[in-house]
Every structure is written in structure tokens, then in C-alpha cells.
């Protein structure tokens, strides 16, 4: 390179690159648009033959019988039920883990446990589903004397395990970013460590913890393999945790292979995709909104 790195050419080069980078930088937005576009393209034709109310509230999903029926209500209820139960299990575990890591654990223990949690996050969902199928299901069947161990509860337990890393690590970040001065103030007033955690640290980090929970729940709703393998697969409304169910995601995965291209069934599965897309997007937007609120670091 010659003396002037600021030669005319490199400046022009720099400008062109910056335009190009902007173009590629928009790619995520473009992909998001494209996903939406193609979901609509393949999903909306369903509503030419099936009313939107019949789709959302219809209680029978019989895509192959005559007449075909595309009521997704049992699938929606299954998704909500499994997600709710999984959250009830995952939230206490994850928040405890986060409080333990940020407030109680010895620094050495923390340095070991944090990567272990990231490892949980990396385990492929098909492996977790497989474990639920071959280990938890037979055990449940025997212990509770059920017809099958593949049910809502089993799926909820395995999903809760998957949600723990998300909820715990984001909550831990939120708890760790609570300023020390707040805690010191509490100690100075004579509060012990638990009282400080309960009345000062956790409330101060609460919006961060909520963000974590919402992101975790969003992950649970969208998870496919675990519910496909473990939830039991019956497209009926589950009334108890021991009933089999077929959540939205599992239904897409189970039926896509047998739905001919362009058929009503095919469109119906994409319509479920639209539902999932907006459901998870809603959760993510809410989470993003909440996380904007808890920035202690700047103050």
C-alpha cells in the first residue's frame, strides 16, 4: 500500500461497502417479510373453504375423513395446556436457579454451573423428546397406572427442562445487574440476605425476570419435536394432564408429509403456521418491550 491509505480509491471503496453492508444488514427483515409472505400465500387460501371461526373454534380436526373438518380448537387448547403446565414447572426452577447463581453460589460453583446450563440449552430437542419417550413415559405409565405415559404432563416436564436455560440465564443477568447500592441499603437497615433478596433484589429485577419468562414460554409454544414424540398425538381436547394431546407444532410436523401440495389440508397446516408465527411474535415483542425497561446499567 502506498503512503496515502486515504487514497481516493479506498474512500470510494469504503462508501460502496457501507451501502452494500446496509443492504445485507436488512436481510433479517427481508427474511422475516418473506416468511410472512409465504405463510400467507400458502395459508390464507384455507379461508376460501373454511370460515375463520370454524378454524379457530371448531372442535374437530379430521383432515382425512369425509367430510374433512379443520377445527384447530383442540390443538390450540393442547398447545396452551402443555405450555401452561411446562411454565408452572419451569418458572420456579429457573428463578430459583437464577437467584442461587447470582446471590448465593460461590464464584467457583457459578463458573461451573453457568456453562452446564448452556449445555442444557444446546441438547437437541429430538434427544429430549426421545428421553421422554423411552424413559419418562414407561415410568409414568407404571407409576400412575395409565394407559399411556405419552401425555400432556410428560411433554410439560420435558419442555420445562428445555425452558430452564432460557429463563434462568436471562433472569440471572437481570438479578446481577441490580446495583449493589440497593442491596447495601437493605443490609444497612438490618435486613438479612433472604429478606434483601425477597424485598429488594427480586422486585428490582422483576421486569427482567418477566422478560425471561416470556421468552421461555415463547420457546415452549414453538417447540416441536418434544411434543411430537411425547404428548401422545390425539387431536382431542385434553381435560387432564394425563390425557394425550396434539399441540399445534406437533400437528404440522405429523401431517405435513401426508398433505398433498395445494390441498385444503396443506393450506390448513400453513394456517396453523400463521397462528404460531404471530403468537410467538407477540410474545417476543412484549419481551422486547419489557427488557427495554430494566436497564440499570445506564443509570
Amino acid at each position: 500500500m502506498k503512503a496515502g491509505s486515504l487514497s481516493h480509491r479506498s474512500i470510494i471503496y469504503d462508501r460502496v461497502l457501507s451501502r452494500g453492508f446496509l443492504f445485507i444488514g436488512m436481510s433479517c427483515l427481508a427474511v422475516l417479510m418473506l416468511i410472512m409472505l409465504f405463510l400467507f400465500k400458502e395459508g390464507l387460501p384455507l379461508f376460501k373453504t373454511v370460515g375463520i371461526n370454524d378454524f379457530l373454534l371448531g372442535d374437530a380436526w379430521y383432515p382425512t375423513s369425509a367430510p374433512e373438518r379443520y377445527g384447530a380448537f383442540p390443538l390450540i387448547i393442547a398447545s396452551l395446556f402443555v405450555t401452561l403446565l411446562a411454565s408452572l414447572i419451569a418458572v420456579p426452577l429457573s428463578v430459583s436457579l437464577a437467584v442461587y447463581l447470582s446471590e448465593l453460589a460461590h464464584p467457583v460453583v457459578r463458573e461451573i454451573v453457568k456453562p452446564v446450563i448452556e449445555i442444557i440449552a444446546s441438547i437437541p430437542s429430538v434427544v429430549i423428546g426421545f428421553f421422554g419417550m423411552v424413559v419418562l413415559a414407561p415410568w409414568m405409565q407404571e407409576t400412575f397406572r395409565l394407559n399411556s405415559g405419552l401425555n400432556v404432563l410428560n411433554a410439560a416436564i420435558m419442555l420445562a427442562f428445555m425452558a430452564v436455560p432460557t429463563i434462568a440465564s436471562i433472569s440471572e443477568d437481570a438479578l446481577s445487574s441490580v446495583p449493589l447500592s440497593l442491596k447495601e441499603g437493605s443490609y444497612a437497615l438490618g435486613a438479612n440476605r433472604w429478606q434483601t433478596i425477597r424485598h429488594i433484589t427480586v422486585p428490582a429485577a422483576l421486569s427482567g425476570i418477566w422478560t425471561a419468562i416470556i421468552l421461555g414460554v415463547s420457546r415452549v409454544i414453538g417447540e416441536t419435536m418434544v411434543v411430537l414424540m411425547v404428548a401422545g398425538g390425539a387431536a382431542i381436547i385434553p381435560w387432564s394432564p394425563f390425557d394425550p394431546a396434539r399441540p399445534l407444532t406437533a400437528n404440522i410436523a405429523a401431517e405435513m408429509a401426508e398433505a398433498p401440495y395445494g390441498s385444503t389440508h396443506y393450506h390448513a397446516l400453513f394456517a396453523i403456521g400463521i397462528l404460531l408465527f404471530f403468537l410467538t411474535m407477540f410474545f417476543n415483542v412484549v419481551a422486547g418491550f419489557l427488557s427495554d425497561k430494566y436497564q440499570f446499567k445506564e443509570s
Binding site: 469504503d14 427474511v31 400458502e42 430459583s96 423411552v134 438479612n192 407444532t249 410436523a253 404460531l276 422486547g288
Partner: protein, 286 residues
């Protein structure tokens, strides 16, 4: 009052510990169980041979190879686009509104369920672009899924590079791009590689996005081109465990395949975590 408060504190701390360790115990039990059950099926033949006798014999070589192809294919798309997006966000972007918008896009893309990526891959790559069920369609689908992983890791790495590095370079007369290419990127490389490792692990382990776009139940031969379907480890586990006529007979092979997949993903992730740890340590020192 004091003793009672301390008793509550004691009890709560014990509870927190128990709940925390429950999660880790569950992980250990799960991994130990799968390894114990599947260890006996690991053999040289298991790694190098295709399945035989309706999956009950032989190995999983085509599935290992297929997963490898999909990982590479996904990276070809996700690494360049992801890294450039992160460079734009941290080094070039000037309007905060635009940065916010792009970041919103990244976060929402990260939240899209993997099965929805599968649907998109099916309608866009398989049908619209007419790739058919193929390595290309599956790789691109996985690549898009991985974009947020790469972008976030790269962004984090770039932000960790001290501003003084950039200022020093710019003050010597380098352009922005020269600064990025010669100073910032080399310093951030370990952090970027962390993202690459994590995304490779994810591409290897995802099932739902490849179910309708790339994966096939059985093919004894290696794929001939980018437009052939492939076997893949996660799909292989799923199919052997849920379909077919010999679910019980193939059980040991299912455990064996699960071990291979777990090891692959764990090694990639641990390599990523170690790199990030060392990178952060070095940058703090700088």
C-alpha cells in the same frame, strides 16, 4: 424476631439450592442413562456402515455424512450474511432508528418456531425455487434459522473490541473498512468463531426445519448432488423411535445415534464456550 427471620432465611436458601441442583441432576441422569444404554452399540461399523436389514443392523454413516453436509451448507449462508449484518450494526449504522428496526428483526427471527422455518423452507426453497427435498433446501432453511445466532455472537464480539483499537487505526489514516478488516475483525475473531460453533451445533441438532425440506428416511448411498435428499442424525433418531416396524429391535441403535448427536453438539458447544471465555479474558486484559 431475629431467630425466626434467620430460620426462614436458612430454609429458603436450602430450598433454592435443592431446586437448582434438581435441574442439574436431571441433566446428568438423562445423559448418563442414554450413554449407558447406547454405549454397547458404538463400534467402528456403527460409524462407517449404512443401515442394513430394515435399520436393525449396520451403522449410521449416511446420517453422519448428511448432517455434516447440512451443517456446512447452513454455514455457507449464515456466516457471511450474519457477520456482515453484525458489522453493519456495530461499525457502520448511524441512524439509531434503523439499528433498532434491524435488531427487532433479528430478535423476532430468533423467536420464529423451528417448525415454521420448516414450513417456509417447504413453500419457498422446495416448491417455489424448485429445489425439491434436498440438501440445498434444508441447508438454506437451517442457515436462515442460524442467522440470529451468528449476528448476536458477532455483535457481542465486535462490541468487546476496545474503541481505542479503532481510534488508533483511524488516526493512522486507515479508512473505516481497512480498520474493520485489519484491526477489528482479527481481534474479534475468537468471539465470532464462538457464534459459528454454536450455530453449527444448532444446525446439527434441529429436526423440524429439515423434516419437510431435506431429510429422508433411508438412503444407502451418499447424496450425489446438492439437490439430493439426505439422511440426518436427528431425523434418524426420530424416525427410528416413532415409525417403522422394528421400534424395539432398533432401540440400541437409537440410543447409539443419540450418543453420536449429543457428542457432536456438545463438542461444538464446549469449543464455542471455551473460545468465548478465553476471548473475554484477553479483551479484559487489553
Amino acid at each position: 424476631m431475629k431467630p425466626a427471620a434467620n430460620l426462614v432465611e436458612r430454609a429458603m436458601f436450602i430450598l433454592l439450592r435443592v431446586l437448582s441442583y434438581a435441574v442439574i441432576v436431571f441433566l446428568v441422569v438423562m445423559l448418563a442413562y442414554i450413554f449407558k444404554k447406547g454405549f454397547s452399540s458404538l463400534s467402528w461399523e456403527f460409524f462407517t456402515e449404512p443401515p442394513r436389514s430394515e435399520m436393525t443392523q449396520g451403522g449410521i454413516f449416511p446420517a453422519i455424512a448428511g448432517t455434516f453436509y447440512l451443517m456446512v451448507g447452513a454455514s455457507v449462508l449464515s456466516i457471511p450474511v450474519g457477520v456482515v449484518t453484525a458489522i453493519y450494526l456495530t461499525e457502520y449504522a448511524q441512524s439509531p432508528g434503523l439499528v433498532k428496526l434491524i435488531r427487532l428483526g433479528v430478535n423476532n427471527l430468533a423467536g420464529v418456531p423451528s417448525v415454521v422455518f420448516g414450513l417456509f423452507g417447504l413453500s419457498f426453497f422446495v416448491t417455489f425455487l424448485d429445489f425439491g427435498t434436498s440438501i440445498a433446501a434444508g441447508s438454506f432453511t437451517l442457515g436462515l434459522l442460524n442467522l440470529p445466532v451468528i449476528i448476536r455472537a458477532t455483535e457481542e464480539a465486535l462490541l468487546t473490541v476496545p474503541g481505542t483499537y479503532r481510534e488508533a487505526s483511524l488516526s493512522l489514516g486507515a479508512t473505516r473498512w481497512q480498520t474493520i478488516y485489519r484491526i477489528v475483525l482479527p481481534s474479534a475473531l475468537p468471539g465470532i468463531l464462538t457464534g459459528v460453533m454454536l450455530s453449527l451445533g444448532r444446525a446439527a441438532g434441529e429436526t423440524a426445519p429439515i423434516m419437510f425440506t431435506a431429510a429422508t428416511f433411508y438412503s444407502p448411498d451418499l447424496p450425489g448432488s446438492l439437490l439430493s435428499e439426505v439422511m440426518a442424525l436427528p431425523y434418524h433418531i426420530y424416525v427410528m423411535a416413532t415409525a417403522g416396524t422394528h421400534i424395539q429391535a432398533t432401540r440400541p441403535l437409537q440410543y447409539g445415534t443419540a450418543i453420536v448427536l449429543i457428542m457432536l453438539v456438545l463438542v461444538l458447544n464446549m469449543a464455542g464456550l471455551v473460545m468465548r471465555y478465553r476471548f473475554k479474558k484477553r479483551m479484559r486484559g487489553a
